[in-house]
């Protein structure tokens, strides 16, 4: 029986794969991977009912199916549209998609505070990635940006509504993971906000997961806030026997030196949590002794976190020489003529830890020791 199950053929950006019926276009595209996978800011595989809201994952359906090959009149949200047999989808090969996505990114950014330099999410923020990969430089928005009052949500979680993109992921998380939902959206339109009833659901054992699902810095971990930048940390996979029946106990520990700065759930390559963890594991267990260490977390090469792993990073081939017909760019000024920074005798790629200011002390006495 099982092997008789018919698979659907779907072509996305000229690549054809076979998937099970009931697969969304987004999941099919993720199977292909790379740039073919549309960006998703609100959809979350584990959260029932999520998706459809942010509109970053819009794609063009050039042909609905073999049975009904007509194109779909509008772009569709790939996260909430299932594939049909013989469907033809255009993502990055569609001008319309690229144009619409530009628009969505712009809309998401016009009221965003862009306070990345002081935001804890910076470096692992999906909105940063999105705007870098799919946005346009500059903004056409010339008005004061929307702000919200900060709410105190108790000892563990900080809500900074001004950064929120209203993806509703935290609402679904609170709804589906915690016992009594007292978390939702108040008001509507551009003045809608995540409800402060969240304070109450904070007492719940699993509410910490809303930090992990939040694509931006609207929900952050108070036990980690302002302690460190994520790219200075080394992520390490670990587990423990958690007594909470619903907690997986599988986490990522974020080290700097010997110190565990924070604990998060493990995330897959799409930035989605693999297994939920309880508040105790997340907020209370910050000693190496609490955990069985498995080894360094695999970090995506694109991630800013990979810049902490200096050794062994493969440099991409430099195309500039080819573009310039073999000529090397003319050096107008060597920075070392005027500055002590980045002294050429210190090879940053040899450091096994992040660079410190002491590596650049002007007397040049202390060279890297390792």
């Amino acid at each position: 029986m099982a092997d008789e199950k018919k698979l659907f053929k779907v072509t996305i950006d000229n690549i054809t794969i076979e998937v099970e019926p009931g697969t969304s276009i987004l999941q099919a595209a993720r199977k292909i991977g790379g740039d073919v996978a549309p960006p998703a800011m609100c959809y979350y595989t584990k959260l029932k009912g999520s998706g459809g809201k942010c509109r970053t994952c819009l794609v063009e359906v050039a042909s609905g199916s073999t049975a009904d090959p007509r194109p779909m009149p509008k772009l569709v949200a790939s996260c909430r549209t299932n594939v049909m047999d013989g469907m033809v989808v255009k993502n990055i090969t569609s001008e319309k998609v690229i144009d619409a996505r530009n628009g969505v990114v712009e809309m998401l950014l016009i009221n965003h505070p862009l306070d990345c330099p002081i935001c804890d999410q910076a470096g692992e923020c999906h909105l940063q990635d999105l705007s870098y990969e799919h946005g346009k430089e500059g903004t056409r928005y010339e008005f004061e940006r929307r702000t919200f009052k900060k709410h105190d949500l108790g000892p563990y979680i900080q809500l900074h509504m001004t950064r929120c993109i209203l993806c509703y992921r935290c609402v679904f998380t609170a709804d589906q993971l915690t016992e009594k939902r007292v978390h939702g959206v108040l008001d509507r339109g551009d003045h809608s906000e995540i409800a402060t009833y969240i304070e109450k659901s904070l007492e719940n054992d699993f509410i910490g997961n809303i930090i992990d699902v939040c694509p931006v810095g609207a929900l952050t971990d108070k036990t980690f806030r302002f302690k460190n930048r994520v790219w200075f940390l080394n992520p390490v996979d670990a587990h423990r026997d958690c007594s909470h029946p619903k907690c997986s106990g599988k986490v990522t520990l974020w080290y700097r030196g010997e110190e565990v700065f924070r604990v998060t759930a493990r995330k897959d390559q799409w930035g989605e949590v693999e297994d939920w963890i309880c508040n105790e594991c997340r907020f209370e267990k910050k000693a190496t002794a609490d955990w069985t260490i498995e080894g360094p977390t695999k970090v995506n090469r694109h991630s800013v976190i990979s810049q902490g792993h200096y050794v062994g990073v493969v440099r991409p081939q430099e195309a500039l020489y080819d573009v310039m017909g073999g000529r090397a760019p003319r050096l107008l000024m060597d920075i070392h003529d005027v500055s002590e920074v980045n002294r050429p005798e210190i090879d940053l790629s040899k450091l096994e830890r992040p660079a410190h200011s002491t590596d650049f002390e002007s007397n040049g006495a202390d060279r890297p020791t390792k």
């Binding site: 459809g52 809309m107 929307r146 939702g184 339109g189």
Partner: protein
């Protein structure tokens, strides 16, 4: 002489709001006819034959919508009457419910029978605070007289009607937001598919229809679908209620058969009675705030030079570039003293305020458009703002979950398309624009006819 009235014929009979007078005037005949002599499918068939199109805005054929309703064994089905009527310029459903409540109840009973809905809901906008009492009174009277409840007319059909008040949100008129709200949740539109015909209220098959649509089922059953379809022209059958407002002598609710011209509707004494104070016609939004605004010259005649008629096909003749839509029948007339920029700003403010905020283009784009329009209106606009506005509306349209995004984009698009020079005048004359109006300009000049 006036055209035939099917809905408002008895509106002025004293006491028609009460059961006794309504019944004496021939009320509830359609329930007797349908329940005693017809099967549910036959009722649906008559509605199909009538050519009735939804009166809530989209104009989808009602009979066809009913035949799409899924009918799985053992699962209840629901009929929901959409009385959220919040589209600016539209107030026809209010008139029906306030003055002829039994007509709606009668239509609901017949429609519930056709669809197999044992619990039927009227979802009414919160601002119509006094109407639920009127409806509930009518429901109680109908029940006391055996038209509702268990085993109606001894046919074995059970039906109850409940009135549910909304909390005052335009978006709850969108059918899936309405369903969410009816279930007691936040009124966010659902992502479709699944459509309500398959998964609606409490995930059961549901039909949502407008008040006027359901009231029109009464004359259709009484006179037969065929007879109903002979009124009007083409795919615009039967009669249509229009709520006329703006710069006209006689604002109000009118019932027309869809054969009269737009010009007649505005200027004849039977309808709007012309424009007050000898002013000239500048523009009109013929079908509620969401539909494209048209300048006088394109309103009265189509781009082909034909007389524009008050019906679905003729109003939309020329597509979005040169036409508009019948929409919900909210007919808004602007005279030469009205400023299109200001009018567009007012609408943009409305949509910004009413967006549910789920999808980013609508949540953010509506606010952005309002801010830019405000600048232009108050003499702070730049010439690049007009193209920017155009681009923003383009990025919203078609890229959102529900049609509110489109409804916010279209008025801006149409205003720029037809009145661009008025926008440019505002930008170029920031001081003058604060003291006087652009006026009629060339908007009523006859257009050169492009032969087809």
């Amino acid at each position: 002489m006036g055209s035939r009235k099917l809905l408002l014929e008895k509106a002025h009979v004293p006491g028609i709001r009460g059961y006794d007078v309504y019944r004496r005037e021939g009320g509830y005949r359609s329930v007797e006819k349908a329940l005693k002599t017809m099967s549910p499918d036959q009722v649906t068939e008559e509605v199909k034959k009538s050519g009735l199109r939804g009166r809530g805005g989209a104009g989808f054929p009602t009979g066809m919508k009913w035949s799409f309703l899924a009918k799985p064994e053992g699962v209840p089905r629901y009929l929901v009457c959409n009385a959220d009527e919040s589209e600016p310029g539209t107030f026809k459903d209010r008139y029906l419910m306030e003055f002829l409540p039994h007509l709606l109840i009668e239509g609901l009973i017949v429609s519930s029978f056709a669809l197999g809905s044992k619990s039927t809901y009227i979802y009414i906008r919160g601002e119509y605070a006094w109407i639920p009492d009127i409806l509930e009174q009518a429901i109680a009277e109908a029940k006391n007289n055996g038209w509702l409840g268990k085993n109606i007319l001894g046919t074995g059909f059970d039906c109850e009607i409940y009135v549910h008040r909304g909390a005052g949100a335009y978006i709850c008129g969108e059918e899936t937001a309405l369903i969410e709200s009816l279930e007691g949740k936040r009124g966010n539109p659902r992502i479709k598919p699944p459509f309500p015909a398959v998964k609606g209220v409490w995930d059961c098959p549901t039909v949502v229809n407008n008040v006027e649509t359901l009231a029109a089922v009464v004359p259709i059953i009484n006179e037969g679908g065929e007879a109903y379809s002979k009124i009007g022209v083409g795919k615009s059958t039967g009669t249509k209620l229009l709520s006329a407002c703006g710069n006209i002598n006689k604002p109000g609710v009118y019932e027309i058969d869809m054969t009269i011209s737009v010009e007649e509707f505005i200027f004849s004494d039977e309808y709007c009675g012309g424009i007050p104070n000898g002013k000239r016609l500048k523009a009109c939004i013929p079908g509620g705030s969401s539909v494209p605004i048209l300048p006088a010259n394109l309103l009265l005649k189509t781009a082909k030079g034909e007389t524009r008629i008050m019906n679905y096909e003729s109003l939309s003749d020329g597509g979005f570039a040169k036409g508009s839509m019948m929409g919900s029948g909210g007919f808004i007339v602007l005279d030469e003293d009205q400023c299109v920029v200001r009018n567009t700003l007012t609408l943009a403010r409305f949509y910004r305020h009413e967006s549910c905020g789920q999808c980013s283009p609508c949540r953010e784009g509506t606010g952005w458009m309002e801010k830019i329009l405000k600048n232009i209106e108050y003499g702070k606009g730049k010439s690049s703002d007009i193209d920017l506005l155009w681009d923003i509306q383009r990025k919203i349209e078609g890229n959102t979950i529900c049609p509110l995004g489109d409804a916010a984009a279209w008025p801006v698009a149409a205003a720029i398309r037809h009145f661009r020079d008025e926008f440019e005048w505002h930008v170029a004359n920031p001081i003058a624009s604060q003291n006087r109006n652009f006026g009629l300009a060339h908007y009523a000049d006859p257009l050169e006819v492009v032969p087809a």
